[in-house]
Protein backbone atom coordinates (compact mmCIF):
# COMPACT_ATOMS: atom_id res chain seq x y z
CA UNK A 1 0.00 0.00 0.00
CA UNK A 2 2.97 2.27 0.59
CA UNK A 3 3.34 2.74 -3.13
CA UNK A 4 -0.24 3.90 -3.45
CA UNK A 5 -0.51 6.35 -0.58
CA UNK A 6 2.80 8.05 -1.19
CA UNK A 7 3.69 11.73 -1.16
CA UNK A 8 3.36 12.08 -4.91
CA UNK A 9 -0.23 10.91 -4.82
CA UNK A 10 -1.00 13.23 -1.95
CA UNK A 11 0.41 16.20 -3.88
CA UNK A 12 -1.58 15.24 -6.95
CA UNK A 13 -4.70 14.72 -4.88
CA UNK A 14 -4.44 18.15 -3.24
CA UNK A 15 -3.78 19.76 -6.58
CA UNK A 16 -6.72 18.26 -8.44
CA UNK A 17 -8.93 18.70 -5.37
CA UNK A 18 -8.05 22.42 -5.34
CA UNK A 19 -9.31 22.82 -8.91
CA UNK A 20 -12.55 21.01 -8.09
CA UNK A 21 -12.95 23.08 -4.95
CA UNK A 22 -12.73 26.40 -6.78
CA UNK A 23 -15.37 25.25 -9.24
CA UNK A 24 -17.66 23.55 -6.77
CA UNK A 25 -17.89 26.60 -4.48
CA UNK A 26 -19.77 28.42 -7.23
CA UNK A 27 -22.13 25.50 -7.70
CA UNK A 28 -22.90 25.33 -4.03
CA UNK A 29 -23.29 29.10 -3.52
CA UNK A 30 -25.72 29.44 -6.42
CA UNK A 31 -27.63 26.35 -5.39
CA UNK A 32 -27.77 27.62 -1.82
CA UNK A 33 -29.51 30.81 -2.84
CA UNK A 34 -31.70 29.93 -5.80
CA UNK A 35 -31.75 26.11 -5.76
CA UNK A 36 -30.48 26.10 -9.33
CA UNK A 37 -27.99 23.51 -10.49
CA UNK A 38 -26.12 25.79 -12.81
CA UNK A 39 -24.81 23.34 -15.38
CA UNK A 40 -23.11 26.20 -17.22
CA UNK A 41 -20.80 26.69 -14.27
CA UNK A 42 -18.12 24.42 -15.78
CA UNK A 43 -18.15 26.65 -18.83
CA UNK A 44 -17.31 29.72 -16.75
CA UNK A 45 -14.15 27.82 -15.93
CA UNK A 46 -13.49 27.26 -19.64
CA UNK A 47 -13.99 31.00 -20.26
CA UNK A 48 -11.45 31.74 -17.53
CA UNK A 49 -8.94 29.43 -19.18
CA UNK A 50 -9.37 31.12 -22.57
CA UNK A 51 -9.20 34.59 -21.05
CA UNK A 52 -5.85 33.63 -19.54
CA UNK A 53 -4.74 32.09 -22.81
CA UNK A 54 -5.44 35.28 -24.75
CA UNK A 55 -3.90 37.47 -22.06
CA UNK A 56 -0.67 35.48 -22.15
CA UNK A 57 -0.59 35.33 -25.95
CA UNK A 58 -1.22 39.07 -26.15
CA UNK A 59 1.70 39.79 -23.84
CA UNK A 60 3.92 37.32 -25.63
CA UNK A 61 3.10 38.92 -28.98
CA UNK A 62 4.25 42.26 -27.57
CA UNK A 63 7.36 40.55 -26.25
CA UNK A 64 6.38 41.37 -22.69
CA UNK A 65 6.45 39.09 -19.74
CA UNK A 66 2.91 38.64 -18.45
CA UNK A 67 2.30 39.19 -14.77
CA UNK A 68 0.69 36.13 -13.17
CA UNK A 69 -1.48 38.18 -10.85
CA UNK A 70 -2.80 40.29 -13.70
CA UNK A 71 -3.57 37.19 -15.76
CA UNK A 72 -5.33 35.72 -12.73
CA UNK A 73 -7.40 38.87 -12.39
CA UNK A 74 -8.29 38.73 -16.08
CA UNK A 75 -9.44 35.09 -15.78
CA UNK A 76 -11.48 35.86 -12.72
CA UNK A 77 -13.05 38.92 -14.31
CA UNK A 78 -13.92 36.98 -17.47
CA UNK A 79 -15.52 34.17 -15.42
CA UNK A 80 -17.41 36.71 -13.33
CA UNK A 81 -18.73 38.62 -16.35
CA UNK A 82 -19.99 35.50 -18.12
CA UNK A 83 -21.59 34.26 -14.89
CA UNK A 84 -23.23 37.64 -14.29
CA UNK A 85 -24.58 37.82 -17.85
CA UNK A 86 -25.86 34.23 -17.76
CA UNK A 87 -27.82 35.07 -14.66
CA UNK A 88 -29.19 38.36 -15.96
CA UNK A 89 -30.07 37.13 -19.44
CA UNK A 90 -31.08 33.50 -18.93
CA UNK A 91 -31.86 32.71 -15.29
CA UNK A 92 -33.38 35.87 -13.87
CA UNK A 93 -36.44 35.91 -16.15
CA UNK A 94 -37.23 32.39 -14.93
CA UNK A 95 -36.80 33.14 -11.23
CA UNK A 96 -40.33 32.40 -10.10
CA UNK A 97 -41.11 29.88 -12.84
CA UNK A 98 -40.97 26.07 -12.52
CA UNK A 99 -37.53 24.92 -11.49
CA UNK A 100 -37.22 22.47 -14.33
CA UNK A 101 -37.31 25.36 -16.82
CA UNK A 102 -34.33 27.01 -15.17
CA UNK A 103 -32.47 23.70 -15.07
CA UNK A 104 -32.99 23.09 -18.76
CA UNK A 105 -32.02 26.69 -19.44
CA UNK A 106 -28.79 26.06 -17.56
CA UNK A 107 -28.01 23.16 -19.85
CA UNK A 108 -28.86 25.43 -22.77
CA UNK A 109 -26.52 28.17 -21.51
CA UNK A 110 -23.80 25.56 -21.11
CA UNK A 111 -24.13 24.27 -24.66
CA UNK A 112 -24.47 27.79 -26.00
CA UNK A 113 -21.18 28.79 -24.42
CA UNK A 114 -19.44 25.65 -25.69
CA UNK A 115 -20.69 25.73 -29.28
CA UNK A 116 -20.43 29.49 -29.65
CA UNK A 117 -16.87 29.42 -28.38
CA UNK A 118 -15.91 26.69 -30.79
CA UNK A 119 -17.49 28.68 -33.63
CA UNK A 120 -15.41 31.77 -32.88
CA UNK A 121 -12.36 31.54 -35.17
CA UNK A 122 -9.95 32.76 -32.49
CA UNK A 123 -11.02 29.90 -30.23
CA UNK A 124 -12.10 27.09 -32.56
CA UNK A 125 -13.20 23.58 -31.67
CA UNK A 126 -9.81 21.92 -31.32
CA UNK A 127 -7.28 21.73 -28.53
CA UNK A 128 -4.83 24.55 -28.02
CA UNK A 129 -1.62 24.39 -26.07
CA UNK A 130 -1.77 26.73 -23.10
CA UNK A 131 1.41 28.84 -23.13
CA UNK A 132 2.16 28.14 -19.48
CA UNK A 133 5.93 28.48 -19.78
CA UNK A 134 5.50 31.99 -21.18
CA UNK A 135 3.64 32.81 -17.98
CA UNK A 136 5.85 31.02 -15.47
CA UNK A 137 8.99 29.08 -16.36
CA UNK A 138 8.78 25.59 -14.94
CA UNK A 139 10.83 24.42 -12.00
CA UNK A 140 10.57 21.05 -10.37
CA UNK A 141 11.62 20.07 -6.90
CA UNK A 142 12.40 16.58 -5.65
CA UNK A 143 11.05 15.63 -2.26
CA UNK A 144 12.21 12.05 -1.70
CA UNK A 145 10.73 10.14 -4.58
CA UNK A 146 8.02 12.71 -5.22
CA UNK A 147 8.25 15.47 -7.78
CA UNK A 148 6.66 18.80 -7.07
CA UNK A 149 6.53 21.47 -9.76
CA UNK A 150 6.21 25.17 -9.17
CA UNK A 151 3.04 24.94 -11.26
CA UNK A 152 1.53 22.75 -8.61
CA UNK A 153 2.70 25.13 -5.90
CA UNK A 154 1.09 28.10 -7.68
CA UNK A 155 -2.02 26.04 -8.27
CA UNK A 156 -2.46 24.96 -4.66
CA UNK A 157 -1.47 28.25 -3.06
CA UNK A 158 -3.67 30.41 -5.28
CA UNK A 159 -6.57 28.05 -4.59
CA UNK A 160 -6.02 28.18 -0.85
CA UNK A 161 -5.70 31.98 -0.79
CA UNK A 162 -8.89 32.35 -2.81
CA UNK A 163 -10.75 29.95 -0.53
CA UNK A 164 -9.60 31.88 2.53
CA UNK A 165 -10.76 35.17 0.97
CA UNK A 166 -14.08 33.61 -0.01
CA UNK A 167 -14.60 32.23 3.49
CA UNK A 168 -13.83 35.63 4.94
CA UNK A 169 -16.35 37.30 2.64
CA UNK A 170 -19.09 34.80 3.45
CA UNK A 171 -18.48 34.70 7.19
CA UNK A 172 -17.42 38.20 8.14
CA UNK A 173 -18.74 40.79 5.73
CA UNK A 174 -22.12 42.45 5.55
CA UNK A 175 -22.84 41.09 2.10
CA UNK A 176 -21.64 37.63 3.13
CA UNK A 177 -24.07 37.68 6.00
CA UNK A 178 -26.82 38.65 3.58
CA UNK A 179 -25.80 35.74 1.33
CA UNK A 180 -26.10 33.32 4.22
CA UNK A 181 -29.40 34.81 5.33
CA UNK A 182 -30.80 34.65 1.79
CA UNK A 183 -29.72 31.02 1.47
CA UNK A 184 -31.53 30.15 4.69
CA UNK A 185 -34.76 32.00 4.00
CA UNK A 186 -35.19 34.10 0.91
CA UNK A 187 -38.53 35.65 1.84
CA UNK A 188 -37.35 36.54 5.32
CA UNK A 189 -34.25 38.13 3.78
CA UNK A 190 -36.45 40.23 1.52
CA UNK A 191 -38.44 41.35 4.55
CA UNK A 192 -35.20 42.65 6.05
CA UNK A 193 -34.96 45.04 3.11
CA UNK A 194 -32.39 43.00 1.20
CA UNK A 195 -32.61 43.31 -2.57
CA UNK A 196 -32.37 39.61 -3.27
CA UNK A 197 -31.46 40.11 -6.94
CA UNK A 198 -28.42 42.11 -5.90
CA UNK A 199 -27.32 39.23 -3.67
CA UNK A 200 -27.90 36.74 -6.48
CA UNK A 201 -25.83 38.88 -8.90
CA UNK A 202 -23.07 39.03 -6.35
CA UNK A 203 -23.21 35.26 -5.82
CA UNK A 204 -22.86 34.58 -9.54
CA UNK A 205 -19.97 37.03 -9.77
CA UNK A 206 -18.10 35.38 -6.90
CA UNK A 207 -18.75 31.87 -8.23
CA UNK A 208 -17.79 32.86 -11.78
CA UNK A 209 -14.59 34.52 -10.59
CA UNK A 210 -13.49 31.41 -8.68
CA UNK A 211 -14.30 29.19 -11.65
CA UNK A 212 -12.35 31.57 -13.90
CA UNK A 213 -9.36 31.31 -11.59
CA UNK A 214 -9.62 27.52 -11.72
CA UNK A 215 -9.52 27.81 -15.53
CA UNK A 216 -6.19 29.59 -15.40
CA UNK A 217 -4.77 27.15 -12.85
CA UNK A 218 -5.79 24.21 -14.99
CA UNK A 219 -4.19 25.85 -18.02
CA UNK A 220 -0.94 26.09 -16.09
CA UNK A 221 -0.91 22.52 -14.83
CA UNK A 222 -2.63 20.63 -17.68
CA UNK A 223 -1.76 22.87 -20.60
CA UNK A 224 -4.34 21.75 -23.14
CA UNK A 225 -7.54 23.73 -23.44
CA UNK A 226 -10.61 23.47 -25.65
CA UNK A 227 -14.18 24.80 -25.53
CA UNK A 228 -15.49 21.57 -24.03
CA UNK A 229 -12.91 21.37 -21.25
CA UNK A 230 -15.47 22.52 -18.68
CA UNK A 231 -17.88 19.62 -19.06
CA UNK A 232 -16.12 16.92 -17.05
CA UNK A 233 -14.54 19.10 -14.33
CA UNK A 234 -17.86 20.92 -14.04
CA UNK A 235 -19.70 17.67 -13.54
CA UNK A 236 -17.12 16.46 -11.04
CA UNK A 237 -17.24 19.72 -9.12
CA UNK A 238 -21.01 19.38 -8.98
CA UNK A 239 -20.60 15.85 -7.65
CA UNK A 240 -18.11 17.14 -5.08
CA UNK A 241 -20.60 19.79 -4.00
CA UNK A 242 -23.31 17.16 -3.54
CA UNK A 243 -20.89 14.85 -1.75
CA UNK A 244 -19.99 17.64 0.69
CA UNK A 245 -23.62 18.70 1.08
CA UNK A 246 -24.88 21.12 -1.53
CA UNK A 247 -25.34 24.62 -0.18
CA UNK A 248 -22.42 24.26 2.22
CA UNK A 249 -19.16 26.03 1.30
CA UNK A 250 -16.93 23.98 3.62
CA UNK A 251 -18.79 20.93 2.30
CA UNK A 252 -17.89 21.82 -1.28
CA UNK A 253 -14.25 22.17 -0.33
CA UNK A 254 -14.21 18.90 1.61
CA UNK A 255 -16.09 17.03 -1.11
CA UNK A 256 -13.66 18.33 -3.71
CA UNK A 257 -10.58 17.15 -1.88
CA UNK A 258 -12.17 13.77 -1.14
CA UNK A 259 -13.01 13.39 -4.81
CA UNK A 260 -9.53 14.51 -5.86
CA UNK A 261 -7.85 12.06 -3.51
CA UNK A 262 -10.21 9.21 -4.41
CA UNK A 263 -9.47 9.70 -8.08
CA UNK A 264 -5.72 9.83 -7.63
CA UNK A 265 -5.62 6.86 -5.25
CA UNK A 266 -8.13 4.95 -7.32
CA UNK A 267 -5.96 5.43 -10.40
CA UNK A 268 -2.93 4.29 -8.43
CA UNK A 269 -4.72 1.10 -7.44
CA UNK A 270 -5.94 0.41 -10.93
CA UNK A 271 -5.49 2.87 -13.74
CA UNK A 272 -8.50 1.59 -15.66
CA UNK A 273 -10.92 1.25 -12.76
CA UNK A 274 -9.52 4.29 -10.94
CA UNK A 275 -12.22 6.83 -11.52
CA UNK A 276 -14.85 4.17 -11.08
CA UNK A 277 -13.61 3.61 -7.55
CA UNK A 278 -13.99 7.31 -6.81
CA UNK A 279 -17.61 7.23 -7.86
CA UNK A 280 -18.33 4.03 -5.96
CA UNK A 281 -17.32 6.00 -2.87
CA UNK A 282 -19.68 8.77 -3.88
CA UNK A 283 -22.60 6.36 -4.27
CA UNK A 284 -21.87 4.76 -0.90
CA UNK A 285 -21.63 8.08 0.91
CA UNK A 286 -24.89 9.30 -0.54
CA UNK A 287 -26.71 6.07 0.33
CA UNK A 288 -25.83 6.53 3.98
CA UNK A 289 -25.74 10.34 4.09
CA UNK A 290 -28.17 11.57 1.43
CA UNK A 291 -27.72 15.17 2.54
CA UNK A 292 -23.96 14.94 1.94
CA UNK A 293 -21.14 15.06 4.44
CA UNK A 294 -21.73 18.55 5.83
CA UNK A 295 -25.20 19.13 4.43
CA UNK A 296 -28.24 19.87 6.48
CA UNK A 297 -30.73 17.16 7.16
CA UNK A 298 -33.96 18.36 5.63
CA UNK A 299 -37.06 16.24 6.12
CA UNK A 300 -37.71 17.65 9.58
CA UNK A 301 -38.44 21.07 8.15
CA UNK A 302 -42.10 22.07 8.27
Amino acid sequence: MGSIFNLQQIINGIQIGSIYALISIGYTLVYGIIQLINFAHGDFYMVGAYAAYFAVMFSAARKEHPNVLIVLLISMTAGAIVAFLSNRIAYRPLRYKPRLSALITAIGVSMFLEYTSSAIPAIGPSYRAFPQSALIPEHTYKIGHAILSNYQIVNMSVAVVLMVVLTYIVQYTRIGMAMRASAQDKDAARLMGIDIEYIIDFTFIIGGALAGAAGLLTGITYPRINPYMGIIPGLKAFIAAVLGGIGSVPGAMLGSYILGFSEVFGMAINSILGEGIAYAILILVLIFLPQGLLGKKTGEKV
Binding site: A178, A181, Q184, D185, A189, L191, M192, G193, I196
Partner: protein, 242 residues
Protein backbone atom coordinates in the same frame (compact mmCIF):
# COMPACT_ATOMS: atom_id res chain seq x y z
CA UNK B 1 -44.01 60.97 16.54
CA UNK B 2 -47.50 62.10 17.63
CA UNK B 3 -49.69 59.23 18.66
CA UNK B 4 -53.24 58.62 17.55
CA UNK B 5 -53.56 61.86 15.63
CA UNK B 6 -56.05 60.20 13.35
CA UNK B 7 -53.77 60.30 10.31
CA UNK B 8 -53.93 57.24 8.06
CA UNK B 9 -50.73 55.17 7.99
CA UNK B 10 -51.94 52.31 5.85
CA UNK B 11 -54.86 52.19 3.49
CA UNK B 12 -55.91 49.03 1.68
CA UNK B 13 -58.52 49.48 -1.04
CA UNK B 14 -60.50 46.71 -2.78
CA UNK B 15 -57.58 44.31 -2.58
CA UNK B 16 -57.87 41.10 -4.61
CA UNK B 17 -55.22 38.39 -4.39
CA UNK B 18 -55.36 34.94 -5.98
CA UNK B 19 -53.41 31.73 -5.84
CA UNK B 20 -53.98 30.39 -9.32
CA UNK B 21 -57.73 30.06 -9.76
CA UNK B 22 -58.48 30.47 -6.05
CA UNK B 23 -59.28 33.96 -4.81
CA UNK B 24 -57.76 34.34 -1.36
CA UNK B 25 -58.84 37.96 -0.94
CA UNK B 26 -62.00 39.07 -2.66
CA UNK B 27 -61.68 42.85 -2.54
CA UNK B 28 -60.99 43.85 1.05
CA UNK B 29 -60.60 47.43 2.27
CA UNK B 30 -59.36 48.66 5.61
CA UNK B 31 -57.27 51.40 7.18
CA UNK B 32 -54.72 51.58 9.94
CA UNK B 33 -54.36 54.89 11.75
CA UNK B 34 -51.25 56.34 13.32
CA UNK B 35 -50.37 55.08 16.80
CA UNK B 36 -53.06 52.43 16.87
CA UNK B 37 -53.02 48.70 17.24
CA UNK B 38 -55.29 47.33 14.57
CA UNK B 39 -56.05 43.65 14.51
CA UNK B 40 -57.22 41.41 11.75
CA UNK B 41 -58.83 38.30 13.19
CA UNK B 42 -60.28 35.29 11.49
CA UNK B 43 -60.11 31.54 11.11
CA UNK B 44 -57.36 29.60 9.43
CA UNK B 45 -57.47 30.20 5.70
CA UNK B 46 -59.45 33.42 5.94
CA UNK B 47 -56.70 35.35 4.18
CA UNK B 48 -54.94 37.04 7.08
CA UNK B 49 -51.41 36.01 6.17
CA UNK B 50 -52.12 36.68 2.50
CA UNK B 51 -53.09 40.23 3.41
CA UNK B 52 -49.83 40.89 5.25
CA UNK B 53 -47.69 39.24 2.57
CA UNK B 54 -49.32 41.38 -0.10
CA UNK B 55 -48.77 44.57 1.87
CA UNK B 56 -45.07 43.81 2.23
CA UNK B 57 -44.72 42.91 -1.44
CA UNK B 58 -44.12 39.16 -1.18
CA UNK B 59 -47.37 38.46 -3.02
CA UNK B 60 -48.80 40.30 -5.99
CA UNK B 61 -52.08 42.14 -5.77
CA UNK B 62 -54.29 41.28 -8.69
CA UNK B 63 -56.58 44.24 -8.19
CA UNK B 64 -56.87 47.09 -5.73
CA UNK B 65 -54.44 49.49 -4.12
CA UNK B 66 -52.29 49.76 -1.03
CA UNK B 67 -51.14 53.15 0.24
CA UNK B 68 -48.57 53.80 2.95
CA UNK B 69 -48.53 57.37 4.30
CA UNK B 70 -50.37 58.39 1.17
CA UNK B 71 -47.88 56.82 -1.26
CA UNK B 72 -48.97 53.91 -3.37
CA UNK B 73 -46.94 50.77 -2.59
CA UNK B 74 -49.02 48.20 -4.47
CA UNK B 75 -46.76 45.52 -5.97
CA UNK B 76 -43.54 47.29 -5.12
CA UNK B 77 -40.52 45.11 -4.35
CA UNK B 78 -40.36 43.99 -0.70
CA UNK B 79 -37.02 45.68 -0.05
CA UNK B 80 -38.38 49.01 -1.30
CA UNK B 81 -41.37 48.68 1.01
CA UNK B 82 -39.09 48.02 3.99
CA UNK B 83 -37.09 51.13 3.09
CA UNK B 84 -40.30 53.15 3.08
CA UNK B 85 -41.00 52.15 6.66
CA UNK B 86 -43.00 48.94 6.93
CA UNK B 87 -41.54 45.98 8.76
CA UNK B 88 -43.10 42.54 8.81
CA UNK B 89 -42.70 39.81 11.42
CA UNK B 90 -43.75 36.80 9.37
CA UNK B 91 -45.80 33.82 10.41
CA UNK B 92 -43.69 31.07 11.90
CA UNK B 93 -41.03 33.60 12.97
CA UNK B 94 -38.71 32.88 10.04
CA UNK B 95 -35.53 33.77 11.89
CA UNK B 96 -32.26 32.77 10.22
CA UNK B 97 -31.46 29.58 12.16
CA UNK B 98 -27.77 29.31 11.23
CA UNK B 99 -26.99 32.95 11.93
CA UNK B 100 -26.24 34.00 15.47
CA UNK B 101 -28.77 36.02 17.44
CA UNK B 102 -26.64 39.10 16.93
CA UNK B 103 -26.30 38.47 13.19
CA UNK B 104 -30.07 38.08 12.94
CA UNK B 105 -30.47 41.50 14.52
CA UNK B 106 -27.86 42.95 12.19
CA UNK B 107 -29.81 41.58 9.25
CA UNK B 108 -32.84 43.36 10.64
CA UNK B 109 -30.82 46.58 10.45
CA UNK B 110 -29.88 46.02 6.80
CA UNK B 111 -31.53 49.27 5.73
CA UNK B 112 -29.70 51.33 8.36
CA UNK B 113 -26.41 52.83 7.22
CA UNK B 114 -25.55 54.69 10.41
CA UNK B 115 -23.46 52.46 12.70
CA UNK B 116 -24.27 54.46 15.81
CA UNK B 117 -27.98 54.23 15.13
CA UNK B 118 -27.63 50.49 14.58
CA UNK B 119 -25.84 50.12 17.91
CA UNK B 120 -28.53 52.13 19.70
CA UNK B 121 -31.27 50.02 18.18
CA UNK B 122 -29.53 46.86 19.25
CA UNK B 123 -29.18 48.16 22.80
CA UNK B 124 -32.88 48.98 22.82
CA UNK B 125 -33.78 45.48 21.61
CA UNK B 126 -31.53 43.94 24.27
CA UNK B 127 -33.23 46.08 26.89
CA UNK B 128 -36.62 44.86 25.74
CA UNK B 129 -35.45 41.22 25.55
CA UNK B 130 -32.56 40.61 27.98
CA UNK B 131 -32.59 36.92 27.02
CA UNK B 132 -31.40 37.86 23.54
CA UNK B 133 -28.45 39.74 24.96
CA UNK B 134 -27.39 36.69 26.96
CA UNK B 135 -27.64 34.53 23.89
CA UNK B 136 -26.34 36.93 21.25
CA UNK B 137 -23.51 34.66 20.13
CA UNK B 138 -25.67 31.54 19.91
CA UNK B 139 -27.11 30.24 16.66
CA UNK B 140 -30.70 31.42 16.45
CA UNK B 141 -31.84 27.89 15.64
CA UNK B 142 -30.87 26.77 19.15
CA UNK B 143 -33.28 29.21 20.83
CA UNK B 144 -36.58 28.07 22.32
CA UNK B 145 -39.79 28.90 20.49
CA UNK B 146 -40.51 31.87 22.74
CA UNK B 147 -37.01 33.24 22.36
CA UNK B 148 -37.22 32.83 18.60
CA UNK B 149 -40.42 34.86 18.58
CA UNK B 150 -38.70 37.55 20.60
CA UNK B 151 -35.85 37.52 18.14
CA UNK B 152 -38.27 37.84 15.24
CA UNK B 153 -39.90 40.85 16.88
CA UNK B 154 -36.53 42.29 17.93
CA UNK B 155 -35.22 41.91 14.40
CA UNK B 156 -38.16 43.90 13.06
CA UNK B 157 -37.47 46.65 15.61
CA UNK B 158 -33.96 47.10 14.20
CA UNK B 159 -35.45 49.20 11.39
CA UNK B 160 -36.72 52.74 11.45
CA UNK B 161 -40.11 51.40 10.45
CA UNK B 162 -43.21 53.26 11.52
CA UNK B 163 -45.61 50.40 10.83
CA UNK B 164 -45.09 46.89 12.19
CA UNK B 165 -46.97 43.97 10.65
CA UNK B 166 -47.21 41.06 13.08
CA UNK B 167 -48.37 37.67 11.82
CA UNK B 168 -49.55 35.28 14.54
CA UNK B 169 -46.95 36.23 17.13
CA UNK B 170 -48.59 33.93 19.70
CA UNK B 171 -48.56 30.84 17.51
CA UNK B 172 -47.14 27.76 19.20
CA UNK B 173 -46.25 29.55 22.42
CA UNK B 174 -47.10 28.47 25.96
CA UNK B 175 -49.83 30.61 27.61
CA UNK B 176 -47.35 32.45 29.81
CA UNK B 177 -45.24 33.42 26.82
CA UNK B 178 -48.35 34.49 24.94
CA UNK B 179 -49.07 36.97 27.72
CA UNK B 180 -45.50 38.21 27.55
CA UNK B 181 -45.47 38.68 23.80
CA UNK B 182 -48.73 40.65 23.94
CA UNK B 183 -47.28 42.80 26.68
CA UNK B 184 -44.29 43.51 24.45
CA UNK B 185 -46.58 44.43 21.56
CA UNK B 186 -48.32 46.96 23.79
CA UNK B 187 -44.96 48.39 24.85
CA UNK B 188 -43.78 48.73 21.27
CA UNK B 189 -47.00 50.51 20.45
CA UNK B 190 -46.61 52.85 23.41
CA UNK B 191 -43.15 53.74 22.16
CA UNK B 192 -44.77 55.07 19.01
CA UNK B 193 -45.05 52.25 16.47
CA UNK B 194 -48.28 51.64 14.65
CA UNK B 195 -49.22 47.96 14.61
CA UNK B 196 -51.23 45.74 12.32
CA UNK B 197 -51.70 42.48 14.16
CA UNK B 198 -52.98 39.27 12.63
CA UNK B 199 -54.10 36.69 15.16
CA UNK B 200 -56.01 33.48 15.62
CA UNK B 201 -56.00 34.16 19.33
CA UNK B 202 -58.82 36.65 18.93
CA UNK B 203 -59.38 37.07 22.63
CA UNK B 204 -55.89 38.39 23.33
CA UNK B 205 -55.75 40.42 20.15
CA UNK B 206 -59.05 42.18 20.91
CA UNK B 207 -57.86 42.98 24.42
CA UNK B 208 -54.89 45.02 23.27
CA UNK B 209 -56.23 46.40 19.99
CA UNK B 210 -57.85 49.77 19.34
CA UNK B 211 -59.67 48.70 16.22
CA UNK B 212 -60.52 45.32 14.71
CA UNK B 213 -61.52 43.75 11.43
CA UNK B 214 -62.93 40.24 11.06
CA UNK B 215 -61.86 38.41 7.94
CA UNK B 216 -63.91 35.49 6.64
CA UNK B 217 -62.91 33.57 3.51
CA UNK B 218 -61.49 36.58 1.75
CA UNK B 219 -64.01 39.22 2.87
CA UNK B 220 -64.13 41.62 5.77
CA UNK B 221 -67.46 40.95 7.46
CA UNK B 222 -67.29 42.89 10.73
CA UNK B 223 -65.31 45.95 11.79
CA UNK B 224 -65.30 48.38 14.65
CA UNK B 225 -63.62 49.44 17.87
CA UNK B 226 -62.00 46.40 19.39
CA UNK B 227 -64.32 46.51 22.42
CA UNK B 228 -67.41 46.61 20.22
CA UNK B 229 -66.15 43.78 18.07
CA UNK B 230 -65.37 41.73 21.18
CA UNK B 231 -68.95 42.28 22.34
CA UNK B 232 -70.48 41.32 19.01
CA UNK B 233 -72.50 38.10 19.50
CA UNK B 234 -71.32 36.64 16.20
CA UNK B 235 -67.69 37.24 17.07
CA UNK B 236 -68.27 35.82 20.54
CA UNK B 237 -69.72 32.67 19.11
CA UNK B 238 -67.24 32.12 16.31
CA UNK B 239 -63.94 33.35 17.77
CA UNK B 240 -64.18 33.81 21.49
CA UNK B 241 -65.59 30.44 22.40
CA UNK B 242 -68.58 31.92 24.25
Amino acid sequence: MPKKDGSVVLEVKDLVVSYGAIKALKGISFTVKSGEIVTLIGANGAGKTTTLRTISGLLRAEEGHIFYMGDEITNKQPHKIVQMGITHVPEGRRIFPDLTVRENLEMGAWTLRDKKLKQDKMEAVFELFPRLKERQKQSAGTLSGGEQQMLAVGRALMTEAQLVLLDEPSMGLAPMLVEEIFKVITEINEEGKTILLVEQNAEMALQIADYAYVLEVGNITIEGDAKEVAANPKVKEAYLGA
